[in-house]
Point group: C2
Chain length 135, copies 2
């Protein structure tokens, strides 16, 4: 099975992290349905041109997050993520990042309005084009 993962060699972001982020997103978004058998660590490593250890780490991490289930000798599957757990997970991910951003603002004496203004700008820039081109 083919999983669409794009690796950027020039990025400073660690290899395992790039894979994790993208695979996680595929699962959370439902692009990989519950029960899907993922490629074996060796096959996936071949596709991604990395070692099996790196793929294994990704599978292990996502299993730790409850997104995958593994059975030795059989393979690694997309596990069932209840709506509650899925929402909790999505929310926590974003909440942490937002908290860091608000803390950053406070550390340089950003006022509430000032922060909100900059946030609106960023949202517009990042979400704004979605109506035009659906990449």
């Amino acid at each position: 099975m083919w999983i669409p993962i794009q690796i950027d060699d020039k990025s400073a972001e660690p290899l395992y992290h790039q894979i994790e982020t993208q695979l996680r997103s595929l699962i959370i978004s439902g692009n990989l349905a519950e029960g899907t058998l993922l490629p074996s660590i060796r096959e996936f490593a071949g596709d991604l041109k990395c070692s099996v250890i790196t793929v294994r780490r990704v599978y292990q991490d996502l299993e730790g997050e409850g997104l995958l289930r593994t059975r030795q000798g059989t393979g690694t599957f997309v596990s069932h993520v209840g709506d509650g757990a899925r929402e909790e997970f999505r929310r926590e991910t974003v909440r942490k990042a937002l908290e860091a951003a608000v803390d950053a603002g406070r550390s340089v004496q950003f006022g509430r309005e000032e922060l909100e203004e900059l946030f609106r700008e960023m949202v517009k820039r990042k979400y704004g084009e979605e109506d035009n081109k659906g990449e």
Copy 2:
């Protein structure tokens, strides 16, 4: 001269980073006026119970950001930060953090409204108490 820096030994945040963040905040906020002679790296290291190298790194980093000026043999001073540069600096700091947060949201398929809602919650939680106790 005494600089109010609080070190949390239990924190996972690196020592140099805790010092940098707080000292930067003191300068940006104007609590340390332009031209102020900071403690020597040795004196400051004594206050903070860390090595002079760590203090030096802090001074060096903040000098790189244009917040400090150093003259060998004389000392390290708070440099003049023009209003433009100060605003640019504050804005960039927060902009980066906000961008990371919005990217995190998009990576888990957060919609615009959903993200804005969570942001409002966070702002309320972090800024909300300021009317009650002025710490």
